[in-house]
């Protein structure tokens, strides 16, 4: 199978071309966010206030990296389990989020939102954080620094290897749950 090269921002036109099972190399800017950061974003939305970051066509990576050694951009930086973010996700997709990167499957609700808004869910391989660190060119905490590894980091990545897990038509790489 051929490998598809894509760049951020992840516009609808790019998203529509991707199919579940496609191998992708992603280049550009991605934002890390995991449980605690998602909870803060959700709390802001609950109050009816605007988010402190623009999610339109953005890509969120469910990741809490290890600290960078001196001279390196980042430490180990593989994906965390996506399903823990499921109950926060629909709101973000509705704000125009272009894609998410994580590991494992998603709820039916998230799948429906992906389909409705032509979003994409990517899989990164779990447990290869050392290898993935070589694809990250820079990392900067942009929000919630007090959360330590759970802060929102802005990462510049080059040829970050992914699989399309759920495509914009809602097709899932994983077999249905029984």
């Amino acid at each position: 199978m051929s490998i598809i090269n894509i760049k951020t921002p992840l516009t609808v036109d790019i998203r529509k071309e991707l199919k579940a099972g496609d191998e992708v190399l992603l280049t550009g800017t991605i934002l890390t966010a995991r449980d605690a950061a998602h909870k803060r974003l959700r709390d802001i939305l609950k109050k009816g206030k605007p988010l402190p970051l623009n999610l339109k066509d953005a890509v969120i990576y469910y990741c809490g990296p290890t600290p960078a050694r001196p001279g390196r951009a980042i430490g180990s930086c593989g994906p965390t389990t996506s399903s823990r973010m499921d109950h926060f996700t629909t709101d973000l997709i509705e704000l125009g989020l272009g894609g998410m990167i994580g590991k494992g499957d998603r709820s039916d609700e998230v799948k429906a939102a992906i389909k409705k808004h032509k979003c994409v869910y990517f899989l990164a391989t779990g447990g290869i954080g050392a290898l993935l660190s070589t694809k990250v060119k820079s990392s900067k905490v942009i929000l919630y620094g007090d959360l330590g590894p759970e802060a929102i980091h802005k990462l510049e990545v080059k040829d970050f290897p992914l699989l399309v897990g759920i495509d914009s038509r809602g097709t899932d790489i994983y077999p249905p749950k029984h």
Partner: protein, 280 residues
């Protein structure tokens, strides 16, 4: 009596935490290579290759194998002829963990309170188990455990009349629920017998043993084999994307139990199951 300064234990804990996080266990690396030969699907093969490549890079560059550098459990067998000096043992262990996580650029993943959830920024406290053994040695094992797989662990109080098939069925249920989430291929630590809490403890302790059907009792070795075969027939495979390797190993630890029960605990552990040990 043999006198030992707890600073030696602190240094050993640091060394072991670093080793465990940078160097994938030999038995696991070997199992990954065996699995690579057995898998036929290109995707499963590529994933296993990436895991092997990742292990080599982590060791060479001293980068954590996985960013989830875990909650550290420390198992200490303390010889009864050892006289500890120089301070408190638990404090020495925790300082040892803290040193490792600072010096090794490892992730600090522990929050101070399960409700208030403020990061302690030291990756401590660790969970310390102390057993008194004979002799004048101190044996230390550390096991930094990631929570992606920990979240998938489970325990069930089976009936005392339950069969080995019932045990296998429960393990299969746990692995199916874990699915792709906890980074398969898994290593399963299984505690059978004892009490509710002790079965869970045994299941964690079982992960310290190298994989490969090593229970001392023949019927448990057979059970380990039967569970592995059943789990690998589920087809979940590496990353849950299909394949013959859903688990790399199954380790059972057992203990006498009560006439009214048969506790079975399953600690699900990822392909980057980490531990290291040394004797002082």
């Amino acid at each position: 009596m043999r006198e030992m300064d707890v600073r030696k234990i602190r240094e050993a804990v640091t060394e072991l935490c670093l080793k465990a996080n940078f160097e994938l266990r030999r038995d696991i690396l070997k199992a990954l290579k065996t699995a690579l030969k057995r898998e036929t699907s290109p995707r499963a093969k590529n994933l296993l290759k990436a895991l092997i490549e990742n292990a080599a890079l982590a060791k060479k560059k001293r980068i954590a194998i996985c960013q989830d550098t875990g909650f550290v459990s420390v198992f200490i067998e303390l010889g009864s002829s050892v006289l500890l000096s120089g301070g408190d043992l638990a404090e020495a262990v925790n300082r040892g963990v803290e040193d490792a996580y600072r010096k090794g650029y490892l992730r600090k993943s522990i929050v101070n309170d399960p409700i208030l959830r403020k990061n302690t920024n030291t990756n401590t406290p660790s969970i310390i188990h102390i057993d008194i053994a004979q002799g004048d040695k101190v044996r230390i094992s550390v096991s930094p455990k990631g929570f992606g797989s920990e979240n998938k662990s489970a325990i069930k109080m089976l009936k005392p009349t339950a069969s080995e098939r019932d045990i296998i069925d429960f393990v299969l249920e746990v692995v199916k629920l874990a699915g792709p989430d906890g980074c398969p291929p898994y290593i399963l630590g299984i505690g059978i017998g004892g009490t509710f809490d002790y079965a869970a403890h045994l299941s964690k302790r079982a992960l310290l043993r190298p994989i490969g059907f090593s229970n001392r009792k023949r019927h448990f070795r057979r059970l380990e084999k039967d569970i592995l075969k059943a789990v690998n027939s589920l087809g979940i495979g590496p990353m849950g994307l299909g394949g013959k390797t859903t688990a790399l190993g199954v380790n059972v630890e057992e203990f006498p139990t009560h006439i009214a029960g048969l506790p079975v605990a399953v600690t699900v552990s990822c392909h980057a199951t980490r531990s290291a040990e040394k004797t002082l």
